[in-house]
């Protein structure tokens, strides 16, 4: 077998094992939280009778292990089950939420990744001069400010005062593509500001590291322009760490944006998951948890594989 195929299949197998572990962990932790779905749903209006009836209906009286086994069988058959709290089909409701989350993450990534890499290259080109310092100063400032604050400031000035974009990023199926883009403009700006610095700094550091190498000096001596040296010779060799940090940030854009979702009232996965954790709706929490874990594991796997492919020494092991 080709070593790369072998490597990829090994990684995938390991990933699946990790997913299984993650689901068991999530189930265990959700069970360990005080209270259960019946109590959470009834809240202050819970009476012992109503509680007992609701527990019976939700099937919470059965052993935890039985419920987990049932869930596992279901998911192996592609069935995510139904929500305990509102009885809706999980696959359907998660599907639309996941679609929204990916939509926002995609546009945020499309803006932020090229911008970060370009700014990184620019910073290297003008190393230690004012463009470099300006780029670092601005991006480090935006990453240091909490995202909800940037969000509120943008909402206040751009949406309320200038009336340019909607303060609510609520998208739904009846909206046209342009309406959707208009709606998510502000959250995309906030997310870009949040992830920019990390990727930009990593690009800068990785390329600067390579710039010390002898072959870069050779390229310079050949008379290549400064930017061409960076783009053609330094960048390809710095790709592994850059891809790594880009993937980490992509994963963040998918799984870590609950605060931005709340500020802009965006119907994504984050708020959906938090609501269901609060209500101890275990099947939904599991479904969301496994999806998040899969995205995280998947993106990291891609980063690893790209790093290996980008490095001839790893690509052709002796």
């Amino acid at each position: 077998m080709h070593p790369i195929i072998k490597l990829v299949s090994q990684r995938i197998a390991l990933g699946l094992l990790l997913l299984f572990g993650a689901s068991a962990l999530i189930f265990g932790l959700t069970e360990a939280l005080p209270g259960d779905a019946a109590q959470a749903v009834l809240g202050q209006s819970a009476t012992p009778e109503a509680l007992a009836n609701l527990r019976e209906e939700m099937g919470l009286n059965r052993l935890a292990l039985t419920r987990y086994a049932e869930w596992l069988t279901g998911i192996l058959h592609g069935d995510l089950g139904t929500s305990l709290t509102n009885g809706l089909d999980i696959a359907e409701s998660v599907g639309s939420r996941l679609g929204n989350t990916l939509f926002l993450a995609f546009w945020a990534a499309l803006v932020s990744v090229p911008l970060a890499i370009f700014l990184g290259l620019l910073a290297v080109r003008y190393r230690n001069r004012w463009p470099d310092k300006l780029i670092s100063a601005v991006t480090l400032t935006t990453i240091s400010i909490p995202e909800f604050l940037i969000g509120y400031v943008l909402v206040y000035f751009v949406a309320v005062k200038l009336g340019m974009f909607s303060p609510l990023a609520m998208i739904n199926d009846s909206m046209s593509f342009w309406q959707k883009l208009n709606a998510i403009a502000l959250p995309v700006i906030v997310l870009t500001m949040v992830v920019l610095a990390h990727m930009m700094r990593m690009t800068r550091a990785a390329i600067l590291n390579v710039m010390q190498s002898a072959y870069v000096e050779t390229a310079e001596l050949k008379g290549l322009s400064n930017f061409k040296v960076i783009w053609r010779h330094a960048f390809p060799n710095a790709i592994a760490p850059i891809v790594n940090v880009v993937m980490l940030n992509l994963a963040y854009l998918v799984v870590g944006v609950v605060v931005v979702e709340v500020v802009f009232v965006y119907p994504g996965m984050g708020q959906y998951l938090v609501d269901h954790v609060t209500k101890r709706d275990v099947p939904v929490v599991l479904a969301c948890g496994v999806i998040f874990a899969a995205i995280y594991i998947g993106l990291n796997m891609v980063a690893d594989i790209v790093a290996i492919l980008a490095n001839p020494r790893l690509r052709h092991p002796k």
């Binding site: 209270g35 209006s45 819970a46 009476t47 009778e49 009836n53 909402v155 909607s166 739904n172 500020v263």
Partner: protein
């Protein structure tokens, strides 16, 4: 000037003058803007409701776990959903009287035990079926039978039997209860086809709007139901937009994305009210922010200690700092002037460090810390309120200690479990229901463990008493008992603070609930 204004007002009523034109002309006559605005509103109201428009509500209190099943309603968004698509048999009107809805009239037997509802005929459900007394019966059964998980289960307990008979629906009670019609106005008791037995979460009712889109935790869209029975419901569509974040809700309102919002934070209400496009509506209600002690658990089993704590709280300060004035002070009983048959002469408990210290000394408490558990889940500002309480209590020498609890799970782990904690009560339409829910010895939600035989007897006596004057006297006595012996420290009653766009007209003050007791989609219209 008056003639001219009257003439202009009549033009408004006839629909010939817009608000902008009217305001401009009124200003030219030297009338103040506030005055002109009032005249305009009156004139526009005289013209009667206008039809049409798409209403959007920005609401706090919705989660992606919400269901359309009325039995599960426990927060604002599901509650408003129910108000749009469903009807109850009767409704509590703003003045505290009973307003007929699906029942045309209600009649009680002379002993208050048998209640007969004459049902409106020809009422159509959104699925095209006609409402019958069977549907009503099954609805009530679903909320009261043995496997019910309804939020209304508690109030349905006293029912001995129910029957459907042609156009009548009859309830027979175990004990007489003069307030039964008020219980039937509970927002959970939406009449559903077949009582919702087969599909409780279908969102089908008899209300003025029918369900179009149901995305829990995001939005719920309703459109006008053409065959609705009443004159209410003037909009083409109504949308509940879930905006739990307070700042986002305010921003959406300011930028015109929504026409009204609930739960405006007191600290931004003043600022928001200055916006020319909005009006902040503060409505005194029956909801109260409280600290509750278990009367049967040491050290709170000593009434002297309970009194010490009651005297040690500075109510005025709490209303001013926690509610920013959007509320009124409480009197250690769950009843205020918003209730019918309230006795205004009950003396107000005053803040007194000296009396608190005196009662504390009498209680003989050993000086060990008295632990008060709080979380902002109990009510917004609960933690701050507890801190203020702690300061004044310490001045009286009471070793009050605050323990912060997580918001998550507060209602299952702390409230009604721990002996001393912060809590919130939304209030009930009538005194009987409030006392029966939380102060009767046998009540599930007796969260102060107030178990006094004499009090229970008074409660039952009041129920059977049909003479309002006598009932008022009994309720006054009961109020005094809770105030002086109970485990309730009630520092304040909160107002409902809503904000409404000036594009809308028809607002009326209704103490029964937020956003005009949820009637905004029925009773308001675009001016």
């Amino acid at each position: 000037m008056n003639d001219q204004l009257t003439h202009m007002a009549s033009q408004v009523t006839a629909g010939k003058l817009t608000r902008r034109e009217f305001m401009g002309k009124a200003a030219a006559l030297g009338v103040s803007a506030a005055m002109a605005s009032t005249i305009f509103a009156d004139a526009a109201r005289a013209a009667g409701p206008k039809k049409g428009g798409d209403l959007k509500l920005g609401l706090q209190g919705g989660e992606s776990t919400n269901s359309l099943d009325p039995a599960t309603y426990a927060s604002s968004v599901p509650y408003m959903n129910g108000r749009h698509f469903g009807d109850t048999l009767v409704e509590v009107a703003a003045d505290g009287t009973i307003e007929p809805r699906l029942a045309e009239s209600v009649e009680g037997s002379s002993d208050g035990k048998v209640w007969t509802f004459k049902l409106r005929q020809g009422v159509e459900f959104h699925n095209g079926k006609t409402m019958t007394s069977e549907d009503v019966l099954k609805t009530m059964q679903r909320h009261s039978n043995e496997d019910s998980k309804s939020g209304a289960l508690g109030i349905m307990k006293g029912i001995a039997s129910m029957k459907a008979d042609g156009e009548y629906f009859q309830v027979t009670l175990n004990e007489s209860n003069a307030d039964l019609p008020y219980l039937m106005a509970d927002y959970h008791l939406i009449i559903q086809p077949d009582g919702g037995m087969d599909n409780p979460a279908a969102g089908i009712g008899t209300g003025p709007y029918k369900l179009e889109v149901d995305e829990p935790g995001v939005r719920h869209l309703f459109s006008k139901f053409e065959n609705h029975w009443s004159d209410y419901g003037h909009f083409d569509s109504v949308e509940n937009v879930v905006i739990n974040d307070s700042t986002a809700r305010t921003a959406a309102l300011q930028s015109g994305q929504v026409h009204m919002a609930n739960r405006i934070e007191p600290k931004v209400a003043d600022l928001l009210g200055r916006a020319p496009t909005l009006t902040v509506q503060s409505t005194p209600g029956r909801g109260h922010y409280v600290f509750i002690m278990h009367c049967d658990t040491a050290p709170f089993d000593s009434n002297e200690l309970r009194l010490a704590l009651k005297y040690a709280i500075n109510r005025e300060e709490l209303v001013e700092k926690v509610l920013r004035g959007y509320g009124s002070i409480g009197n250690d009983m769950p009843i205020n002037a918003a209730y019918p048959l309230f006795d205004e002469t009950i003396p107000q408990r005053e803040f007194s460090i000296d009396k608190a210290a005196e009662h504390y000394k009498k209680s003989g408490h050993d000086g060990s810390p008295i632990i008060l558990r709080v979380a902002d889940a109990a009510f917004p500002g609960a933690v701050d309120a507890a801190a203020l309480f702690q300061q004044t209590a310490q001045q009286a020498g009471i070793p009050l200690e605050i323990k912060r609890e997580p918001n998550d799970g507060y209602w299952s782990e702390v409230w009604n479990v721990q002996p001393f904690c912060a809590s919130y009560w939304g209030g009930r339409p009538v005194q009987d229901q409030m006392y029966a829910t939380a102060y009767l010895s046998t009540a599930d939600w007796n969260d102060t463990r107030f178990k006094v035989k004499e009090f229970d007897d008074l409660l039952f006596a009041a129920r059977a008493e049909l003479d309002p004057a006598k009932r008022k006297a009994i309720y006054s006595q009961m109020g005094m008992m809770v105030r002086d012996q109970g485990g309730l420290i009630c520092p304040m009653f909160n107002d409902f603070v809503d904000a409404v766009s000036n594009q809308l007209d028809g607002w009326e003050t209704d103490p029964n609930g937020e956003l005009m007791n949820g009637q905004v989609s029925r009773k308001m219209w675009f001016a």
